[in-house]
Symmetry: none
DNA sequence: ATCTTCTGTACTGGTTTCCAGTACAAAAGG
DNA sequence: CCTTTTGTACTGGAAACCAGTACAGAAGAT
């Protein structure tokens, strides 16, 4: 198929090796081609606005602002581009947030390329792709019982609170978190207070302890 | 260069996409070739024993048993194969463990392929490659006591420091620790500073994280 | 036996964080 | 349409953090 007729795909992914492999995989297909790549949310946003691709593949955890934020920004601007969200973590927690924010698919980086391609084709065809592992759980969470009490109180954190929680778990200071998420230190403090409240923690030490144990646990799962 | 003369490389990595990309990168080189791939520690161990490669590239976090265990098993068997450890996490904690366990290099998956190749060549040449970001930290950590039996630097803490460390791990504030141990808050601050120094930690957050994970680990062992 | 390092204790003074509030606009939900 | 949630931000005082310095007694080293 001539290049101009192929489906245009934009990649927003900050791990160079993974991005290369993904681009290679896509360009090998007869009917699609990567038209732009970005390694951060800002460039990704610009590229998607400019290219109006048939599909954007976005890593949920980018340096700086997260992929989730990028997706929300796109939707806020009225963009309807189908988005396949990529994640390192096989947690339905993230899948659910991605879908709520308007993604058409969610898949982890652990998958083999064949399955990634399945997801891409499905989303390109206008359908929703969801990693079978948490299909059931996410569906019930979103459709059946939207306001149900979460299995772990961590699930009750908002997207932004969760992002802060993760960074705290990595041992970042309040200032560093603020820089990373590009908001004021004061804002981070508000999030910390809300997180402590939601999780029933009394002070900064307990917050650090909880956050770091959660991060470790999650890494263990991610294996 | 004919295939038989190339340096043989074994890959042990459970993320298929990443493994493919890595293999592709290596096989593109004139002077090296992937001779075996594995997606778990067991198969990796067998492949390395069988192939006696010039280099093994091992992901530190594999499904099931970790890459660190695999490395230790190899060394326990007397194998001298140079190992380049791959990690998803840019934490010096892991780098240190990898080097202690006998790795010749440590690099994160965030790096661009050029840098990965630099690491590979350096290790193949018999040198040590370390992500420049934590070169300094790790060196100072390891050189402090090169041949010591201390499996973990935590064993180097004095009695008082350890007592403080445990209380921090339980989420106590500096003031609470002072009250508990009946010494001045200022004294606790001194201990905190010394602990951070001995463990190579940068700030209070990392101290909390380390302390709490150590406390958890310990409880797990105690039953 | 003496010199040096380690350990336990504590302080100062300056920076940063923590905490308890308050505020407000936009989005979501009811 | 009204209420709650979410994201953002501020203030002002308390607490914690950090980089030094200090010093005496214990432990080790020459």
């Amino acid at each position: 198929m001539p290049r101009e007729m192929r489906a245009k795909v934009v990649l927003v992914e900050d791990h160079p090796m993974f991005r290369e492999q993904l681009a290679h995989l896509i360009n090998k297909q007869e009917d699609m081609a990567v038209c732009a790549e970005a390694d951060n949310a800002g460039d990704g946003f610009a590229a998607i606005k400019r290219q109006q691709p048939s599909l954007a593949i976005i890593d949920i955890t980018l340096k700086g602002s997260s992929g989730l934020e990028l997706l929300k920004d796109l939707r806020a601007q009225g963009s309807k581009v189908p988005v396949l969200m990529l994640s390192m973590h096989p947690e339905s927690l993230y899948a659910e947030r991605a879908l709520r924010a308007g993604a058409s698919g969610y898949i982890t980086k652990e998958e083999a390329s064949a399955r990634v391609m399945t997801a891409i084709r499905q989303v390109l065809a206008g359908e929703i792709y969801l990693d079978p592992r948490f299909m059931k759980r996410v569906i019930s969470q979103i459709l059946v019982d939207p306001g149900s009490k979460a299995a772990t109180p961590i699930e009750r954190l908002t997207d932004r609170e969760l992002a802060v929680f993760e960074l705290i778990g990595e041992g970042r200071t309040t200032r560093e978190v603020g820089l990373r998420l590009r908001v004021s230190v004061a804002t981070i403090e508000t999030y910390r207070a809300r997180i402590k409240e939601k999780l029933g923690l009394e002070n900064a030490g307990q917050l650090h302890a909880k956050a770091s144990s959660w991060v470790h646990e999650r890494h263990a799962i991610a294996g």
